[in-house]
Every structure is written in structure tokens, then in C-alpha cells.
């Protein structure tokens, strides 16, 4: 870097490269401190905001009139109040399921088309990843208040809880096998006890998240899906009762946390 003029300057490029695993936690913490609120997650929010307003689908409509639970067109604070029961769909929905519902109802898109590629990669993130990041960003600073009063909301919580402790898959794991005891790690990654409010708040208030190690925005639907992959089960269906109830259980455990996403993770 070369500076012209007499002004003083300092330049830092915050790169996150592959490093020995033992060094990863501290290196990541350093990165997180340096970037502060200026995480690449912001870039996904910007693209997501454009996609939210983009007219598309057979009805050539945007998602701006989407009712995320706070009324048509209200995005502020909506993410932090999900999952919840929606009477129009007669089911409990998380943010991504509700965004999909709006793609179907407002834009007239088929579920199949809209869900063709829910999980993207670094080269080509998915539409849902951008949209989820945008919707989540509009709840920054809001208290997390998932739905807990409707019978279906209570049931989703209870089903999620039962799933959390159910042994399944080729390796006999339940979620609690890894997330059941405090102070444990898998390789060098800390494992939060997601059945407890403290660790659940820290985790759930920062999803979706930009993962610096692979430059991707990851959502809660992906998070649950990927845990099951590692548990060696078949694939849970996107937006199914299993996945949405798991997200409900984890979010209720985190209730009261101040939402601070989209986050930045290792």
C-alpha cells in the first residue's frame, strides 16, 4: 500500500485463512473483534433487501407485502418473533418457511421452483440465504419472543424437545449427545448446551450467520439439516414439522435474548 499526500493512514485487510485448528478459536475471535459490526454478513443483507423488493414470479410481485407475523409489509422486529403459528397456513412457521409461503402466495411461484435450491454455496448463495439475512437484520436489537401460546406452538415446542433427545440415525446420536453437557468440544469447536437458556440465547440470537471459514451465509434450516447429516440420518425435509419444531424448541429456550443477527461465525 502506498499513500499519497501527508495524511496518516493504517490499512488492515481482515483475511481469515486456513490455520492449525488449535489456533482457530483465538484467530476467529481476533477477526470478530476487528470487523465488529462490519461483517460480510452485511453484504448479504444488502442483496437480500434488493431481492425483497424485486418483482418476480407469475404474479410479478415483490415480497414487500409479506406478512411475517406483524402484519403485511412489516419486517421490523418480525424475525425475533418467529417461529409462530400462522392461521392462514394453519401451521407453525420459522422465518424461512414464512418467506417461502410469501413467494408462493404473493409471487405465485410453485413451492418446487422456489425451493429448488434452498442451500447455496460460496460461489452462488441461494435466494433464501439473502432474504433470510435481510429479514433477520431487521430484528437487530429486538427481544426474541417466539410464539408460545397457541396449542400448535406448544406442540411444536414439545415435539422439538422430544426430537432433541431422541436417539436416531446410524450412529445412535440425539442432539443431546453433543449438545447435552457443558464444557464439551467436538474437535476444536465448542458445543453449546442448547437445552439451556444461556447457551441457547448466545447461539440463537446470532443465526443466520456468515461463516468466515467458508464465506457462506448459513440459515437455521441449514443448521438443523447439517446436524442431521453429521448424525448420519437421511435428510430432513426443508420446512418440515421436524425441522420447524426443532427451531421452535431451540428458539423458545433462547427466549428473552436480544436478537443480534445475522451473526458472524467461524
Amino acid at each position: 500500500m502506498r499513500a499519497s499526500g501527508k495524511r496518516t493512514l493504517l490499512l488492515a485487510a481482515f483475511a481469515f485463512a486456513a490455520a492449525p485448528a488449535a489456533a482457530q478459536t483465538s484467530q476467529f475471535e481476533q477477526y470478530q473483534k476487528m470487523v465488529g459490526e462490519d461483517s460480510p454478513a452485511e453484504l448479504f443483507v444488502l442483496v437480500g433487501a434488493d431481492l425483497w423488493r424485486k418483482k418476480q414470479g407469475p404474479k410479478n410481485a415483490s415480497l414487500e407485502r409479506c406478512d411475517l407475523g406483524k402484519g403485511p409489509g412489516v419486517v421490523k422486529g418480525a424475525y425475533a418473533a418467529l417461529p409462530r403459528y400462522f392461521a392462514d397456513a394453519n401451521q407453525v412457521m420459522d422465518a424461512e418457511s414464512r418467506i417461502l409461503y410469501c413467494m408462493e402466495t404473493l409471487q405465485g411461484r410453485s413451492r418446487k421452483e422456489a425451493l429448488k435450491r434452498p442451500f447455496g454455496n460460496a460461489d452462488k448463495p441461494s435466494e433464501m440465504e439473502y432474504l433470510d439475512a435481510f429479514v433477520a437484520s431487521q430484528s437487530d436489537g429486538f427481544k426474541m419472543t417466539p410464539g408460545m401460546s397457541h396449542p400448535q406452538e406448544k406442540r411444536a415446542y414439545e415435539l422439538g424437545k422430544a426430537l432433541f433427545f431422541a436417539r436416531t440415525g446410524l450412529y445412535d446420536f440425539s442432539c443431546a449427545s453433543c449438545h447435552g453437557e457443558p464444557g464439551k468440544r467436538i474437535r476444536m469447536s465448542d458445543l453449546p448446551v442448547l437445552s439451556e437458556p444461556g447457551p441457547a440465547r448466545a447461539a440463537m440470537s446470532t443465526w443466520p450467520a456468515y461463516r468466515v471459514s467458508n464465506s457462506q451465509m448459513k440459515t437455521m434450516q441449514w443448521r438443523v439439516n447439517n446436524c442431521y447429516r453429521q448424525m448420519r440420518t437421511p435428510q430432513p425435509v426443508w420446512g418440515s414439522e421436524v425441522v420447524n419444531s426443532m427451531i421452535m424448541y431451540l428458539t423458545v429456550n433462547a427466549k428473552g435474548a436480544v436478537y443480534a443477527g445475522p451473526g458472524t461465525k467461524r
Binding site: 500500500m1 502506498r2 499513500a3 499519497s4 499526500g5 495524511r7 496518516t8 493512514l9 493504517l10 490499512l11 488492515a12 485487510a13 481482515f14 483475511a15 481469515f16 485463512a17 476487528m34 470487523v35 465488529g36 462490519d38 461483517s39 460480510p40 452485511e42 453484504l43 444488502l46 442483496v47 460460496a122 460461489d123 468466515v212 464465506s215
Partner: protein
């Protein structure tokens, strides 16, 4: 087409702390694609920062920087309201820029 950029500039004592986020694949040329062929180099080569239209920083950048980089600059002598423009040029000749005012 280049993805978004976002910049923010805030006074910190007697200098402006400028942060800029940019969407860029920052391909090193050393990765292989699914087909086994190397993915061509594609990275930001030049960065320029202008303060009220006058270039104050010109820099070269290498492929050793991660995808979607975050850069930070401190510009001495800046004042609130000053206009800051940041632009980049990559090895394929693509370019993008963004503007912000010092808060």
C-alpha cells in the same frame, strides 16, 4: 456483475475510521473446481480511496485476501461531513465503487 459494497466512516479522535465491505470471490487460482480444473485467478488488484474527490490512498492488493474482504483505513485530518469514495479494480478489469460521508 459485481455484488454490493458498503462503507462506513466515523470520526475517532482526529482521524476518520473507514470500514469498507466488498463482495468479491477473491479466487487465488490455486483452487480446483468440481471438474478438477483449476479455477482461474480472480482477485481485487487495486484499491483507491478519495477524500472529497482527492485521492488519498492508492493500493495494491493480492490474492492472499479472503473472499468478501473487509478493509479498514484511518484517514488523518478528515472532518465530519467529508465525502469518501472507495473503488476497486480486479485482475479481470471489473470495477466497483461506493461512497459515504464521515459521521
Amino acid at each position: 456483475m459485481a455484488g454490493p459494497m458498503k462503507a462506513r466512516a466515523r470520526m475517532q479522535g482526529n482521524y476518520a475510521d473507514v470500514r469498507v465491505l466488498m463482495s468479491h470471490p477473491m479466487e487465488t487460482g490455486q483452487r480446483k473446481g468440481r471438474d478438477g480444473k483449476p479455477i482461474p485467478k480472480h482477485f481485487i488488484q487495486n484499491l483507491a480511496v478519495k477524500l472529497n474527490g482527492k485521492t488519498v490512498i492508492e493500493g495494491e492488493c493480492s490474492q492472499a485476501v479472503s473472499r468478501n474482504p473487509v478493509f479498514s483505513f484511518r484517514i488523518g485530518g478528515a472532518k465530519p461531513g467529508d465525502k469518501i469514495e472507495i473503488s476497486w479494480l480486479d485482475n479481470k478489469g471489473e470495477t466497483n465503487k461506493t461512497e459515504t460521508a464521515v459521521a
